[in-house]
Symmetry: C2
Subunit: 255 residues, 2 copies
Amino acid sequence: MRVTFLGTGAAGGVPLYGCECAACARGRQDPRHVRRPCCALVEHDGARVLLDAGLTDLHERFAPGFLTAIVLTHFHPDHVHGLFHLRWGKADAIPVYGPPDTDGCADLFKHPGMLSFRTARKFEAFELGALRLTPLPLVHSKPTLGYAIEGPAGERFAYLTDTLGLPPRTAGFLRSWGEFEMAIDCSYPPHPAPNNHNDWHAAQRCALEAGARRTWLTHVGHALDDWMIQHAPVVPSHIALAADGIFTDVEPCLR
Amino acid sequence: MRVTFLGTGAAGGVPLYGCECAACARGRQDPRHVRRPCCALVEHDGARVLLDAGLTDLHERFAPGFLTAIVLTHFHPDHVHGLFHLRWGKADAIPVYGPPDTDGCADLFKHPGMLSFRTARKFEAFELGALRLTPLPLVHSKPTLGYAIEGPAGERFAYLTDTLGLPPRTAGFLRSWGEFEMAIDCSYPPHPAPNNHNDWHAAQRCALEAGARRTWLTHVGHALDDWMIQHAPVVPSHIALAADGIFTDVEPCLR
């Protein structure tokens, strides 16, 4: 099971418009350090699932029929942006799973076009090809679900953004899930009162509470990148900073 | 006064995702025929006003401080898309004028960031640098205003999208305005019952009712482009089809 991080930025991305911090300056000079809106692709044996849809050029990246489904964590604009263009296409309907949220985003539900919206419900697993997805509640300013994604040979990856901390039932599910990798939002450097998103410390607490073999930090804001440049903090070996375009091949695990 | 058509596409644009009509095929082969979301730039003597904000890469096109203001016709996603990224920037506030619409689009009003929203009201003119803008009511599925834009030497350009026909007071204003050029949406080929947007015939009726010296068709859908390819209709000399990237220099006029 391959997970590719297509976009790893917080809202505003890196470089942030008009910002001259070291991280934003680096992003303008070196495209490897650009962070676009949140989006990841999970591929396994013909199933291709897009997690979140923040990239605005989805219609140019993916030919009709390529995606098995789109699975949304929530309906904030930076996670659904790419749907607005895609919806008017002429192609077979794309199933789009998301949390219960009567508002959605702007007029997506009123004019879904070729998007076929479906409601995911916490702890009610569903299958997309050979992949089994279990929605997990998160803690955010809009109804938000993470997803525990499992392949047939025990490949396990949890996509957990956007959140501040993990609800006890979500952490409990993950602790009894067997070995897995996970991605979680880490938008800020250490902050006395993080809001809506994990800061550096909260993300690491989530990683420990969930017990992931490896935790990828995503939804990264420019201030975190800048802090990493300035402070070069020690990063525990089970923590990795995601970047746009990199992937991880999640190994099967019998446990 | 220079008006540059940055984006001239209807929602969905050209090429439309998954469509294989002649216009969409041409757009995939030749970038001159691509139509991106609605957006135009009016420049006059240091004033730079962006009309609509549908392009998603505004933050990459315009350096901080370049734009005097953004003026919106309405809050449908394909006209405001570019604001979502721009708003989180670190730069001086950008004034954003739009019609009275308590909903706006998604959470733009809740989280305006560096955008300073202001309400434009029909027939209440306002000034941006040397430009005078008069909001004109249009006929659309959301509160929508066109803008009659006038430079100090009588350069006059009316930006009238999205609409189906012109309200009598709007047509009356334009008929007594002196010589001007205008842009209006023409999203469909001839249609028995056009909805929300002008078809080919309605756009030409608007041009005649308003009495424009020259009328640019914009907000063009792939079906209109395809119809133009298939039928090569006779186009009256006062009508011109806009295209992404072209501009018109609006001449001063003493009348």
